[in-house]
């Protein structure tokens, strides 16, 4: 298993935001996490990428424990994160955004004496083509539309070339057409990367969930299964529709 999570818990001011008994991800697997608001989905990704510190539990990635490591260490270990609210560098051009993201040595002196290579330019260009950013390459990222910012952030994660990508709501604020394109892209990326996607848009989930879907409710894992199984699970339907259900209450 690439990623193993056990007994992970975190609470904010006494409220259990997350209380996950077990979660594991295979290499090159695309996993979708769904769940109602406040289920702890984003918190879970925050803990993996080092943004939030967990109270207890353990996370191993590639056989090494990463819990409590700094964001930089975790990023260096090969985990890339796309946030729910697009987080790009608005003052820099799209090209510069991509250049900074690209995988290379990132210490001060390398940056100071950095010279671009044709191979790197080619790589940036390829990713830009894939995410339809070529005609805005020299525009400040702050001037892009919301959908373009989403793609730019995905491009940033792709250029980092991480082993594991954590993608938080990639389809939010996108048109149907853009959403479908994003889905196709994620499927393509999943051939060479492991990916965890959080999403609310069920049509989008159906498009990309070829493997397992994990359902989180109130910080706990409700169920895990294929999209068809999950979709027809009465408990999942109930928690989304807000209906009371005896089994849910005991959870």
């Amino acid at each position: 298993m690439l990623l193993n999570v056990n007994n992970l818990s975190v609470s904010f001011g006494g409220v259990h935001a997350l209380n996950l008994d077990h979660f594991s991800l295979r290499d090159k697997e695309l996993r979708v996490i769904i769940g109602p608001n406040g289920a702890g989905k984003s918190t879970f990704l925050d803990i993996i990428c080092g943004k939030t510190k967990a109270d207890k539990g353990d996370i191993t990635f590639n056989g090494k424990s990463i819990l409590g490591k700094s964001e930089v260490k975790i990023a260096e270990a090969g985990i890339g994160r796309k946030f729910q609210k697009p987080s790009v560098f608005p003052g820099l051009t799209v090209y510069d955004n991509l250049l900074l993201a690209a995988k290379m040595k990132k210490d001060i002196f390398t940056s100071l004496f950095f010279k671009s290579t044709p191979a790197l330019e080619e790589k940036i260009h390829q990713v830009a083509v894939k995410l339809s950013l070529t005609n805005v390459m020299y525009k400040p990222a702050g001037d892009l539309s919301h959908g373009q910012k989403q793609w730019l952030e995905i491009a940033i994660v792709v250029l980092q070339d991480p082993t594991l990508m954590l993608i938080d709501e990639p389809a939010a604020g996108m048109s149907d057409e853009e959403t479908e394109k994003t889905g196709a892209l994620l499927l393509e990326l999943s051939k060479s990367h492991s990916i965890i996607v959080i999403e609310h848009d069920m049509k989008f989930v159906e498009q990309i969930a070829n493997e397992l879907v994990t359902v989180l409710v109130r910080g706990k894992r409700l169920t895990e299964g294929t999209f068809a199984e999950v979709k027809n699970d009465q408990r999942v339907i109930d928690c989304y529709l807000g209906r009371t259900n005896a089994q849910l209450e005991t959870l």
Binding site: C49, K51, S70, E71, V72, A75, E76, G80, R81, S87, V88, F89, P90, G91, L92, D96, L99, L100, A101, K106, D107, I108, S111, L112, F113, F114, I156, Q160
Partner: protein
């Protein structure tokens, strides 16, 4: 188009200050004091470049640049004072004798030699910046807290320098020097030479800063300003970058201070009081932050205005500065440089309109 404009601006700048002003002096149109005054402004501009790097580009508002500036000035002042003391046959500078001190304090010793003085003038501010930065950036102190802490630090240092027990001249500071490297400071040719040295250092500092900001390192700095967390998740060690730029900014301030001292002939703790440290930041704010040209022009223009205003309306300088600052924040947040852009845009817009109507 833009690079062409830049080159033109550089040529104009150098032509004006390196040729026109000295020529004006040699022709007897300008007094040597005017030359010296501009030389001092260049020193402020060098420090302003550092402020622009740390604040304009990286988004860290450091209020202790005035302190680094003074460290540079004090170092050179100590050297000049020792040289004068030794030349006059005494062992201690006058103010120490008045304070009934009988041996030269240990930290004055290395300043007998010019070489060591220069090294220490750079090393001490760099070390201070490194330690302050290490502590502050490791604790992830940001934004307004950073400004408050650095300002408090400057204030504390100001209080320390005010004390006679610090053996740095107290409130009166260090003054009354006569020569540097054997050349008399009161001679006009030395003043002209110091002016030209300051101009050269300013130009080289500008070039270095230009290279820094246009390298990938500079882009990382801007990225830190825009979205620090994203930079960490992209695997850059943000603290290292902040620390590096903080040390560079401190060095620039110190270099400015070193050149400033022989041209003014006095350094007092007043150079690093709260007013002075806020003023330094204002040069960059008014000139246009995140723009190296803005920092230089801001420092030169504000100080030029200062000298005009203080002679015309001696009491209202702070009001004028405050008014300019408010206007800048309200209407053109990119400073003088931004104002140029706005005018250019308006101009090209009207030209476009007239060409369309015809």
């Amino acid at each position: 188009m833009k690079t062409k404009n830049n080159t033109l601006l550089y040529i104009l700048f150098v032509a004006f200050f390196a040729i026109l002003l000295p020529a004006g002096y040699l022709a007897g149109l300008l007094s040597v004091n005017t030359i010296s005054v501009w030389g001092r402004y260049f020193c402020f501009a060098i420090a302003a470049l550092g402020i622009d790097l740390i604040w304009g580009y990286t988004g860290i508002l450091s209020m202790c640049q005035a302190f680094f500036f003074c460290l540079g000035s004090y170092g050179i002042a100590m050297h000049l004072l020792l040289k004068k003391t030794v030349a006059s046959g005494a062992t201690l500078p006058d103010f120490m004798a008045w304070n009934k001190i009988d041996t030269l304090p240990f930290f004055w010793q290395p300043f007998h030699s010019f070489g060591w003085s220069v090294v220490l003038c750079l090393l001490i501010p760099a070390a201070f910046a490194f330690i302050i930065g290490l502590v502050l950036f490791r604790s992830r102190i940001k934004g307004v807290y950073m400004a408050i802490i650095t300002q408090a630090l400057t204030l504390a240092m100001w209080l320390i320098f005010l004390r006679n027990e610090t053996n740095l001249g107290g409130t009166n500071g260090l003054t009354d020097f006569n020569s540097i490297l054997g050349y008399s400071l009161s001679s006009s040719s030395v003043k002209l030479a110091l002016y030209l040295v300051s101009l050269t250092v300013l130009c080289s500092a500008y070039y270095c800063c230009y290279r820094i900001t246009h390298s990938k390192f500079g882009k990382v700095l801007q990225a830190i300003r825009d979205s620090e967390s994203r930079v960490s998740y992209t695997a850059y060690k943000v603290e290292d970058y902040k620390l590096a730029v903080f040390v560079v900014a401190a060095l620039l301030a110190a270099v400015g201070g070193m050149l400033y001292l022989p041209q003014t002939g006095i350094i007092t703790p007043g150079r690093m009081d709260v007013k002075a440290s806020v003023e330094m930041v204002m040069w960059v704010a008014l000139g246009g932050r995140g723009n190296l040209k803005g920092a230089v022009i801001g420092a030169l223009l504000v100080n030029f205005l200062y000298s005009i205003c203080t002679s015309l309306f001696p009491d209202s300088w702070l009001f004028i500065l405050g008014f300019l600052f408010v206007i800048t924040v309200l209407y053109f947040d990119k400073g003088f440089m931004g104002l140029g852009d706005i005018i250019r845009q308006k101009f090209s817009a009207t030209r476009l309109k007239t060409s369309q109507t015809h």
